[in-house]
């Protein structure tokens, strides 16, 4: 443990840093720090609202630019123009200067205007085009009606004269045609008409309404337009109908117009005269073709413009996003009007201070400013945030821990042992050589194509697996190992070494046969494959796996308990060692450590050789509590005494755990009171203030105008410290806390040990499931013969393989992973994890862009 190096073992040492930045280069400094991404800025203006802050104006302007860029993006999506991917830019988007930003926002503004006007004209043109097409259809269709209707006018007139026959009867009755009446006949009859277009789905209601309001005094003709018409505003296709309505009298015509308009129909002028109509059609056609060429031109300009934008849109988006983040961060700084400086407070890893200082120096040199940016370290009683430095490999493991809770500042990071124990416990449940191999290969593939996959968009499930690719790799490797130990490969045995069991050679088929042991030989690695497919295979492997899981659980929990010792050492709380760790350890070991000892001891004795019945360990443990001292089936000599001593030890430890800590705390508190301290917070605050002043005095020798200003800055810090955390000691609270802790610990020792039995249960389930799968698919195929057998083998192999991957690897793997997760969160971390840390959230462009990716 090197003291000045940040490792994965503890969270990094942090220091609260104060920056005095000259106003002119504030933006550059903050953006340089954003590139660095190691500082967690504290909000110094938390009492002011978002609108009252210094840089709200700038943020608004950038918001506007961002909106414009999004508008471009939406337009490009609409026109299906691809955007140049962010990864094709080779520069790393160095922080732009202020003038560049101004230029960008101006350009975005003018481009927006241009595109908007282009769009608008395009849309109006499109609308005109649609109108004209509809009109053309109306003309064409209505012409047909008129030609047909001409023959009917005579009849109609008769019926009109009759006046009692409904007009619509004519529609149903085909009438004689060919009677050449003039076109003027309609006007003679005082029959007007309305022609237009209406969406098809409105047609029935339109008809019904017309019929009801006019009481049948109309003659209606309609036909469908074969091709759908595109609405330019919404880009939807609507199929429409052309209708022509003939009716009698001006008022009725007006009524029809009103109804049709209210139902969303478009009405068009159609002339009765066929010649005029032909002219109209001609005109409409020529206008349409004109419009089309204009439209095409507009479209190409628009597309060209958008393509030009698309080439740099991604870069602009990144720039604007960074710029916005910079101003948002600057809003957190406090501005000193008298000295024209910005004061920032930020947490940063102590090891990163040198880097920060040199970066600031660079920025200063570039800006050519004589006033340097001053970096101070402030001592404070506030808890620093927890920052664990991760890399690609450790990131996923750390995420497992962080999902449970943020570790306390400089607490032992449970992520370190988790790197091994998590995949290992997983593998104990997932132990199968073949499945482990599949998993390893998948993880290797993901790691190999890492770069490519990082850039492409992944769906949710796959991206989760991708995120945990290194966990998967470890899980796969350990599964291969445990598979070898369990002697399972896709549920078949792996015969590496000769078996320690020999089958007798003479027996009747169908007889139950017992194997005999090869003398003096124990199968050297893993489970003997001789157990495979035997009748009492489960009997043996159950007893083995159950004991295995208890032993592993005991080892895991003991290690976790030891971590709590390391924590207590680190936080310099000897009382935690003597009142929590030592009695807890004794309690745990005297019960479960003893059980583990008994298990191992029982294995080492050849019970048949000494002619004794092997004792049941479960009963031994139960009777150890029920009737201490009396042994029914002795394991070794002097067992009774040992057990009595162990139980006494365990029982003694409980009151020690219960009472020692609260009473010690009370004694310490009373002593402090007697010495005259009121509270702990006050004294430290004073010292912090003093230190701060001294340091500033050294660094700010020349450049200070008045002392009063400086006081302001310090006062601001001390205010924050005032809110800091020191609580009054209360004995009852401490007592309750300790009682809960003790009861929890003692009960959890039992329940957690039992909880590790899930290792046994899941590995058993996994093994049995893969055996069943094998028997159901491939085994049946092998039993067939001939061509049918070949065919069945091929088919069932695919079935078996897909089921193996999906059910056994993915489904079972997920469940084993969840159980392993639980074993870590509940069983192991409850032994030492303190938690209640504050996560470190550095201001970093990289994180920012990862959170809100740009296509």
């Amino acid at each position: 443990m090197a003291p000045h190096k940040d490792t994965f073992f503890r969270s990094a040492e942090m220091s609260l840093t104060q920056l005095y930045i000259a106003n002119e280069i504030g933006r550059e400094v903050v953006s340089a720090l954003g590139e660095l991404g190691v500082m967690d800025f504290r909000d110094l203006n938390s009492e002011t609202t978002a609108f009252q802050r210094t840089f709200t104006q700038e943020i608004r302007r950038l918001d506007n630019v961002e909106r414009q860029l999004r508008y471009f993006h939406a337009q490009m999506d609409k026109a299906a123009i691809p955007m140049r991917s962010i990864y094709e830019f080779n520069n790393t988007f160095a922080a732009p200067t202020a003038s560049e930003i101004d230029e960008l926002s101006e350009r975005a503004g003018s481009l927006e205007n241009r595109i908007a006007s282009l769009n608008e004209s395009y849309e109006t043109l499109k609308k005109r085009e649609v109108d004209l097409t509809e009109w053309r259809w109306v003309l064409r269709e209505a012409g047909g009606f008129f030609d047909r209707a001409r023959g009917q006018t005579d009849e109609i007139r008769h019926s009109v004269d009759d006046d009692d026959a409904p007009l619509l009867r004519d529609v149903e009755q085909p009438t004689l045609s060919g009677d050449a009446q003039g076109e003027a006949s309609f006007s003679v009859m005082n029959i007007g008409f309305v022609a237009g277009v209406i969406p098809r789905e409105r047609m029935p209601s339109f008809e019904r309404i017309l019929w009801r309001t006019l009481r049948g005094n109309l003659y209606m003709n309609q036909s469908e337009i074969p091709e759908p018409i595109i609405n330019p505003e919404t880009n939807e296709e609507i199929s429409k109908n052309v209708f022509v309505i003939f009716a009698h009298g001006k008022e009725i015509i007006a009524k029809i117009r009103k109804i049709s308009e209210s139902l969303g129909a478009d009405l068009y002028n159609v002339d009765e005269n066929s010649e005029l109509r032909r002219d109209q059609i001609h005109e409409v056609n020529s206008r349409l073709s004109d419009l089309e060429s204009v439209l095409r031109n507009t479209k190409t300009t628009l597309d060209a413009e958008l393509t030009a934008i698309g080439r740099s849109l991604a870069a602009w988006m990144v720039i604007v996003k960074k710029e916005k983040a910079v101003y948002e961060t600057m809003n957190k700084l406090s501005y000193d009007h008298a000295r024209k400086t910005l004061i920032a407070e930020a947490w940063c890893p102590t090891s990163g201070l040198g880097l920060i200082k040199s970066t600031l120096q660079d920025v200063n040199d570039r800006a050519g400013l004589s006033v340097p940016t001053i970096v101070n370290q402030v001592r404070t009683t506030k808890t620093p945030p927890t920052y664990v430095k991760t890399n690609r490999f450790t990131l996923a493991f750390q995420t497992i821990i962080d999902a449970y809770g943020t570790a306390k500042y400089t607490e032992v990071n449970p992520g370190l042992p988790t790197i091994v124990t998590f995949p290992f416990l997983f593998a104990v449940m997932f132990g199968d050589f073949g499945h482990g191999l599949i998993m390893t290969l998948a993880a290797c593939a993901m790691i190999f194509f890492e770069r490519k996959l990082l850039r492409s968009k992944l769906d949710e499930l796959f991206s989760m697996a991708f995120y945990g690719r290194y966990i998967m790799l470890m899980m796969g490797i350990f599964s291969i190992y445990t598979g070898l130990i369990y002697c399972d490969a896709f549920s078949k045995e792996l015969a590496i070494f000769p078996s320690m069991w020999k089958w007798p050679t003479d027996f009747e088929v169908g007889d139950s046969v017992q194997a005999t042991r090869v003398e003096g030989y124990t199968y050297p690695f893993g489970l003997d494959w001789g157990w495979h497919d035997t009748e009492n295979d489960l009997l043996f492997s159950n007893s083995y796996k159950m004991k295995l899981s208890i032993l592993l659980g005991w080892a895991h929990m003991t290690c976790s308990l030891v971590l709590s010792f390391v924590n207590a050492r680190h936080f310099k709380k000897p009382i935690d060692i003597w009142a929590n760790f030592v009695p807890g350890m004794i309690f745990f070991q005297s019960i479960f450590g003893y059980l583990v000892f008994a298990i191992v001891y029982k294995w080492t004795i050849d019970w048949y050789a000494i002619g004794q019945a092997p004792p049941g360990l479960l009963n031994m443990l139960i009777y150890m509590f029920l009737s201490p001292g009396t042994i029914e089936a002795p394991l070794y000599r002097g067992q009774g005494t040992v057990q009595v001593i162990l139980i006494l030890l365990a029982v003694i430890c409980v009151p020690i755990m219960l009472f020692l800590k609260p009473f010690y705390e009370r004694w310490e508190h009373n002593r402090a009171r007697a010495l005259g301290y009121r509270g702990i917070g006050e004294s430290t605050r004073v010292s912090a203030l003093d230190d701060d002043d001294d340091e500033e005095g050294q660094t700010l020798n020349g450049g200070r105008d008045s002392y009063g200003d400086d006081d302001e800055g310090v006062a601001m810090i001390t205010q924050d410290i005032d809110q800091g955390e020191h609580e009054e000691f209360e004995f009852s609270e401490a007592m309750i806390h300790q009682v809960i802790h003790t009861i929890e610990f003692c009960l959890n020792c039992v329940s957690h040990t039992a909880s590790y039995l899930r290792l046994w249960a899941l590995s058993l389930a996994h093994q049995q499931l893969s055996i069943v799968l094998w028997d159901m698919t491939l085994n049946t195929a092998f039993s067939m013969t001939g061509a049918k057998g070949v065919f069945a083998t091929v088919c069932l192999f695919y079935l078996w393989f897909t089921l193996t991957v999906f059910v056994l690897c993915i489904m079972e793997g997920t469940s084993a992973m969840l159980h392993s997760l639980r074993l870590h969160w509940v069983e192991a971390m409850s032994k030492h994890f303190i938690g209640d840390g504050i996560p470190f959230q550095p201001f970093s462009f990289k994180i920012l862009l990862e959170e809100e990716p740009i296509e």
Partner: protein
């Protein structure tokens, strides 16, 4: 006593990994991972070995055929 040999091998491995772990920022991660994995693997192997050292039951099956045994022997 293969168990003791196993312990010695694992201890040797741990010591080796302690000193031979790649230098740099992640030295601690390498060291601890290698050592814990070695220990975990050894534990598992040792438990399995112990469990079979003096087995209380012997394998038993009733679907044996002479041909099967011949296969195994060869």
């Amino acid at each position: 006593w293969s168990l003791l040999v196993g312990i010695l091998v694992v201890i040797a491995f741990c010591v080796a990994s302690y000193f031979l772990a790649p230098k740099g920022e992640d030295q601690l991660v390498w060291r601890s991972s290698l050592m814990i994995s070695a220990t975990a693997c050894y534990l598992m192997w040792a438990i399995t070995f112990l469990a079979q050292w003096h087995p209380l039951i012997v394998p038993q099956r009733n679907d044996l055929r002479p041909e099967y045994l011949q296969d195994k022997m060869l």
